[in-house]
């Protein structure tokens, strides 16, 4: 049994991050043991020395986040009129940003759910902070429709509950579907995220030195003790939640696409919207995961656990979803001709060459031209700096996508006498930029206070997990030594 893997050239110097057997990138750098994983990940949370850069970042993010506080306060005092939304552009930033943020969230669910079902174990390193990203993005997204209803303090009217007015939601409206889709999505995401963290909270409880930290993590861990029977039920529940989240994430962005598609508006009423919205959401979400993962792995020295393999795979997912999005744009253009509808054709012409045509070309440039021409190259897919820059470009592109969809259809519809234009106000911008700060704040707090990478799931991928019949551990030791 002592033969080696593939025949290696003696002069060949192997990159330590490559699997010596297959030549593919390793998911976890060699040399990790159960203990080193615990130390590395729990150490980030339990260290008594919070890095100064963290405080600096939090301060900066909190400063930006005041935009949300001020923006909302002023809006509640004055009304939605302070925004640029008006007739004909009645949706404006409120819906653009809502769709943008919620789309970003979808990658988190995709990573934690779909990739779990398909046993893509590389996801284990990034699923936790991707899920956190989902939840914080949904928080940011949720602000917009609540404010856009005009009287946010009455937003609870959206829910079906018995009331003295005897008024109920109207279930043939996609806006009522949204209420159910987004609230379910938020709830299930939080539950999935928390369930995932229970064992890790247990580890933190066992390792915390401060009594307060021990106490808090102890409560959060619900007394988890790693019992095998518990683990089996836990695994079963995780898989089921993943199985439920997968269709959920599809349905959420599909429902959002229905907000547009069920209306008989040129540019909105098209059947490709559901899949292409979902793909676009995943596209922007993966870009956001890269935006977050790249600085974090650098800052906390997590290159061993978030390896080139992860970057490469995420870039590939972006390539795939970006191609679907490009196909969607192509079909829109083709159908504006094929449908033989004057209005569709005019909408597309106006989208490309009308007064706001620059938005469309920005979208094509940032969302299609730059990413889809470069991501084919493996060298660029593992180039950290390039991916970091690209992740911003794609998210700008995806913002423009929603801008183009929302604005171009609305400001020039069927009747030229009702044409107008759309211009966002400083309050629109303030709230939007503020949500970036809010998102970053929440994320920094999460990175400091909760285990960013699931320890138990990483341990499952280590060589030490191998079971040898007869219980001999001799081989085990040599493996861990490697």
């Amino acid at each position: 049994m002592a033969t080696q893997g593939p025949i290696h050239d003696q002069n060949e110097v192997l990159d330590p991050m490559l699997d010596p057997r297959t030549g593919e990138y390793l998911v976890i750098a060699p040399g990790h043991t159960f203990k080193s994983v615990t130390q590395k990940i729990a150490g980030i949370v339990l260290t008594p020395n919070t890095p100064w850069a963290w405080f600096g970042g939090l301060f900066l993010a909190a400063t930006v986040a005041t935009g949300v506080v001020i923006g909302i306060t002023w809006l509640v005092l004055k009304g939605v009129g302070i925004w640029g939304v008006t007739i004909p552009g009645a949706w404006g930033f409120a819906i653009i940003n809502f769709v943008w943020w919620i789309g970003i969230g979808h990658a988190g669910t995709l990573i934690s759910a779909i990739l779990l079902l398909f046993k893509q174990t590389w996801r284990n390193s990034i699923n936790r902070f991707a899920e956190a990203m989902t939840i914080f993005a949904v928080c940011c997204a949720g602000i917009y429709p609540l404010l856009h209803v005009g009287r946010p303090w009455l937003a609870y009217w959206l829910m079906p509950y018995p009331n003295t007015m005897n008024v109920w939601p109207q279930f043939r409206s996609p806006l009522a579907w949204d209420v159910f889709a987004v609230s379910t999505y938020a709830t299930i995401s939080v539950v999935f995220w928390y369930i995932g963290m229970i064992p890790d909270f247990g580890t933190l409880r066992d390792r915390a030195k401060l009594p307060l930290a021990k106490y808090i993590y102890g409560i959060l861990s619900l007394g988890w003790r790693g019992s095998t029977r518990h683990w089996i039920r836990y695994e079963s529940a995780s898989l089921l939640l993943a199985g439920l989240s997968t269709p959920l994430v599809l349905s959420v962005h599909t429902t959002i696409s229905f907000d547009f598609a069920v209306a008989a508006m040129a540019g909105w009423h098209t059947t490709i919207f559901p899949p292409y919205f979902v793909a676009g959401a995943v596209y922007s979400g993966f870009a956001m995961v890269l935006t977050l993962a790249i600085p974090i792995r650098k800052f906390y020295h997590l290159e061993d656990l978030v390896t080139e393999r992860h970057l490469d795979n995420m870039a590939k997912v972006m390539l795939a979803t970006g191609s679907i999005v490009a196909y969607g744009y192509g079909m829109e253009v083709f159908m504006s001709w094929y449908s033989a509808s004057h209005w569709e054709f005019f909408m597309m012409w106006n989208r490309m060459f009308g007064p706001m045509g620059w938005g469309y070309w920005m979208l094509i440039l940032t969302n299609i031209a730059i990413p889809l021409s470069t991501l084919w190259f493996r060298k660029l897919r593992v180039n950290v700096l390039y991916l970091f820059i690209l992740s911003f470009i794609v998210n700008i592109g995806m913002w423009f996508e929603r801008f183009v969809i929302v604005v171009t259809t609305l400001y020039r519809d069927y009747l030229p006498s009702s044409w107008g234009t759309y211009r966002a106000t400083k309050w629109d911008y303030m709230l939007f930029i503020g949500t970036w700060g809010m998102f970053t704040c929440l994320f920094l707090l999460f990175a400091r206070l909760a285990p960013m990478i699931p320890m138990s799931e990483i341990k499952m991928m280590l060589p030490g997990t191998k079971i040898h019949p007869g219980g001999s551990n001799a081989e085990e030791v040599t493996q861990e030594a490697l």
Binding site: R21, T22, G23, T254, A263, T271, I272
Partner: protein, 451 residues
Amino acid sequence: MALEHDNHGMELAGNAAHAGHGHHGPAVLPSVLTAPEVVKTWRLRALVVAVVFAAISALFLLTEDGRTHLLRAYLAGYMTCFNFVGGSLALLMVQYVSGGKWGLILRRPLEAMTRTFPLILVGILPILFLMKKLYLWAAYTTKAETLDAYHKGLITNEQHLDIDYRHVMLAPTPVIVQTVLVFGFISFMIWLLNRWSLKRDQDEAAGTLGSFDKWRVRFENVSGPAIVFYVIALTDFVIIFVKSLDIIWASSVYGLQFLVAQGYGTLAVGILTLILLSRYEPMKSLFRTTEQHDLGKLMFAFTMLNIYLTFAEFLIIWSGNIPDEITYYIHRIQGGWWTICTLDVICHWVIPFSILLSRDIKRSKNKMIWVATFMIGARMIDIFWLIEPAWNKTGDTLHLIGNYGILAYITVPVAMIALWAAYYLTQLSKRPLLNVNDPHTAELLEPEHAH
């Protein structure tokens, strides 16, 4: 995970499976990897079915109504077979890009499916020659002809205007050009991937890291962009040959719907093949329950995607309620067609969905045979529902008495699928059933993990 299995990579490279494993260790790679003899028997059975059903189908030639339906049923059967071939090409490319052991074990059956493309190539000829009988745009090729047909009341004003408008794309010459382009691309990809796959195993450096790397990167680089082109080609093809049966209707998700339907059908054929083969060597020791389970999950995913796209399309068009679009569904729901529509939803989605929810069934070989067969049958209902109502006029009802020609939708597709299956089985026995020069081949021989 790595070290203990390394030695098997070596065995594969030297293709000498040596004895001496404890019964706990991984299985040994079978020395003969070609398909078992029994495939010939299956092929014979398929041919018998094809001949019998073709003979029955020939009876429809006797009546005018029968001849009309025969051609439409031929289109249905043709599209079903095309979906198997196109789907197998797409899936083959996807597994090269995505990796995964399900793709490795399915690779050779998929390749065999793609190599049936000559049948598809020849099969298009009757449709091209008789296109006037199927498509309005082929029946009336000039503005004068459409106007004349409108005046004679053969087509509506809307149809007349739309045919004129779309003649740039939908007329005999452009259609032939597009078909040649689409088929040219597909056959090139099939040729390339099949050729490389053989070369990969014959590589002199087989078993070395360099060889693994070279072929993986090659297949990845070709398959990635080719998937994109394939989806575009497929979209064009189904718009021309299926969607344009309803000349007024336009729906932008149509191409993706066919893509998903292809995955649905191809996976069913693939799983069926693997399970049947796994009763004999070499698949007996290669096809593990783990991979069957994964393929079952994938099939479940396609079942969900299929209803997702179909329902979303319906909901959007139903809500919009625009005459141009909703007519498509009215023809497919009213006048007795709701029975077919409901049957389609039940057989194509409800039943596979409910069955495939169960983990035990996904892992059971005997049960999955029936599920896969049922799903292939469901594809036929679906294609029938997509094609035949295109000739409905408002007020028409679905009936059988006096309309026996419609039974051709059973006999012709069955004959064609059987013929296709015979060809597929011939191709399947031409190559070893496993691609050995792949670092993951060794993993197929590992004992199965509990999870």
